[in-house]
């Protein structure tokens, strides 16, 4: 290992799945030999979104639900930076749902790690977009009345080239998913199941632990139909692993001048070069 990522003391609740996700993130970055100054962690608001305060990296801790837009801006400005979006199920699928859909359309080269605990933690226990129908919460006291979003299925129908699910309780497996997502050239979604020890008394550590299983060795992640079946499997059994992967041209590479030149941030412009624009108006 060439570099060791420095950690800071978190303010998460004891037993929170975020600790294990942080451990996996640290290991993934260290094993990929990416230095802290080469990676930017972009987040919104929520417990998951505090990640860059607890591990030393470049960080853009922006607004709730708005982690993806700055991540796109960062990638277009400096293609040499590894950009990771880290936010919860609320920020990623609720408040930021529109950006999620359009990030897939762009296929911008970012890894999107969604800390999915199927509940709102920081705001104290309301339903999230992934909370099950009928589940009782602090706000939905007589049960949730809307269908949960199915993020992996949604990503597949939108044409995402990298769709995966992980579990915070299986660190080595999560590290391998994170590494593959970071190295994938394009938009990579990893929905990470994690328990919320305070607010979600249904989807507990044991609940997940008893349901998750690794996709079999011979699973073909290039088969989209099969991936769709696995994406919708969220019942007694929940598959984890890379459900779907496909090589696609990234958004950045669709701009010839970005693909074939230095990062935009490194380019100088002499204002006099723009003087020729006057000819258009003669």
């Amino acid at each position: 290992m060439k570099y060791e990522y420095k950690l800071y003391e978190p303010s998460w609740c004891p037993g929170c799945g975020n600790y294990m996700i942080r451990t996996a993130l640290k290991m993934a970055l260290e094993e990929l030999e990416i230095e802290p100054h080469e990676v930017v962690l972009v987040s919104g608001i929520g417990q998951a979104a505090k990640m860059q305060h607890y591990i030393k990296v470049n960080g853009f801790n922006g607004l709730h639900g708005r982690a993806i837009p700055p991540a796109i801006g960062i990638r277009l400005a400096n293609k040499n930076l590894k950009v990771i979006v880290e936010s919860g199920d609320g920020g990623s699928y609720g408040e930021g749902g529109n950006h999620f859909i359009h990030a897939i359309r762009r296929n911008i080269d970012i890894a999107h790690f969604v800390h999915d605990n199927q509940i709102y933690g920081l705001t104290k226990g309301q339903a999230s977009p992934t909370t099950a129908m009928g589940q009782k919460t602090t706000l939905q006291f007589d049960g949730v009345k809307v269908e949960p979003i199915k993020p992996l299925a949604l990503a597949l129908t939108m044409g995402a080239g990298f769709v995966a699910r992980g579990f915070s309780g299986d660190i080595p497996h999560l590290v391998s998913l994170m590494k593959a997502a970071i190295e994938y050239k394009g938009y990579a979604l990893v929905d990470i199941l994690q328990p919320c020890v305070v607010w979600n008394r249904v989807n507990t550590f044991a609940w997940y632990k008893n349901r998750v299983y690794h996709l079999p060795e011979d699973y073909d992640y290039t088969n989209k139909e099969e991936a769709m079946k696995k994406a919708l499997e969220f019942d007694d059994k929940i598959p984890i692993g890379i459900l779907y992967k496909e090589e696609k041209e990234s958004y950045e590479d669709r701009f010839d001048f970005i693909k074939n030149g230095p990062p935009l941030v490194d380019r100088q412009l002499n204002p006099m070069d723009a003087e020729r624009l006057m000819e258009e108006f003669r």
């Binding site: 305060h53 853009f60 991540a71 801006g73 277009l76 001048f257 070069d273």
Partner: protein
Amino acid sequence: MDYSVLIGGAAGQGMDTCAILLEKTLKRCGFSVYASSDYMSRVRGGHNFFYIRFSDRKLYSFSPRVDLIFAMNKETVDIHRSKLKENGFILTQETIEDIVTKLGNPKVINTVGLGFILKYFGLPMDIAAEVIKEEFKEGIIEINLRALEEGYKQSKNRYSLTTFKDESILINGNQAVGVGAIAAGCRFYCGYPMTPSTGVLNYLAAHSNEFGIAVDQVEDEVAALNMALGAAYAGVRAMTGSSGGGFALMVEALSLAGMIEVPVVLINVQRPGPATGFPTRTEQADLRFMIHAGHGEFPRMVIALRNVEDAFYQTVRAFNIAEKYQIPVLLMSDQHLADSVVTVKPFDFTKVKVERYISGEEEVVDEEYKRYRFTEDGISPRILPGKIPGQVVLVDSDEHDEWGHITESDEIRTKMVDKRLKKYEYLKEDIQEPWFIGKDKPENLIICWGSTYGAVREAVDRLIEEGYSIGALIFGDIWPLPTKRLLDFGKMAKRIIDVEQNATGQLESLIREVALMKPTDRILKYDGRPFSGEEVYKRIREVL
């Protein structure tokens, strides 16, 4: 000499083409041109028209008193007949119908009309022929040249105008902002199409490959400013733009820009509100909104653009100020400035200075870089992520400590608020006083801002010729509000007349608030149509 032509018809009839050809031809004849468009929010039908005014002296406004009307349908005649000067002429569709039929393509009505108009004013045909060759695609040049000639033959000279050497450019406000952004080294622009701001997005997209500018059509305006902030954080000059409704969606991110101290430039090309309002028309009713938008207290600068030259130079300046103070700089334009096509001297690119204020390793004095290090002027040295091994850049929307880490400390909170607001004090050093035009020590002082400059200028010139003691202050920098000139001239004036395109006198109330000075009269307009010099003149006369 000072003439004005009105071209009108239904959307989709091709008046835009006719207007562009005539504007370019007049420009190349060496005239000063001021063309204003009046269009509806629809793609086909309705009634749209252009005022194209031209003169041998510099023009600052359009004229609703016209010498010739080119009416592509009967409705145009009915609506605009009253605007015709006494000896004016109406060119109707019927007059040239036979020629168009003979040429066998209804679209050439535009070029037949162009030929007719040129001959009417006694202007040469060859300049227009050159313009046609440049503007049209290969296959249709020939038929349009014939149409031009036929129209020319059909017409009679009413005037015999002399042409001059052409040294100008013909440009509108949105294009001037686009050119300014490119000259300033803008590398990122994003936006969601919204009239009348779309022209800036279009212009930069068209030059994206040539100048290496990433242009993104975003899913919504919420994404727009957040995305621009990401690009700016990574170290490129970034900009976004919209009209009032789109800007409303950017407001949370504007507050974020203030908090994380990432420099960004934003333009609001105003149209009348509230809500959807008048999508294709003009107003100056977002002044208070632009100054106050965003929760919490943070520094920003607001600059109103007064004409196309100002649009170019102030856009460049906006990028420099944004980076110097690490604040959002908001530019304000409006539909009238955005869409009016005018002749001006080519912009002077030697005046463009790109000042980035980005720090290198030598300025990282702490073992671990502090993005929000406390300094005397509140501005912390800015390094870029990925550029200095071992150092990371952390920006945070939460209240944060000097490193950018989330904090709950009351002491740090107070110091951070002070740090951010301190930048206001230093920013005041860069504030430009309003332009002044008119008589020394005027008894009557006009105050106005932004694109009303042209109409006010024309009115003031005329009133001075008539012997009035009058002058005008035209605000460009509007927040923080410069007050020196205002107080100096205000003390001398007997009458202070506020001229604005809104219903509540937003600049006037700002002046009362900041300069403790009360204008005596207000001339307000909020019908969605721009002030002409003529209208401002008449309304000032009513007050004096």
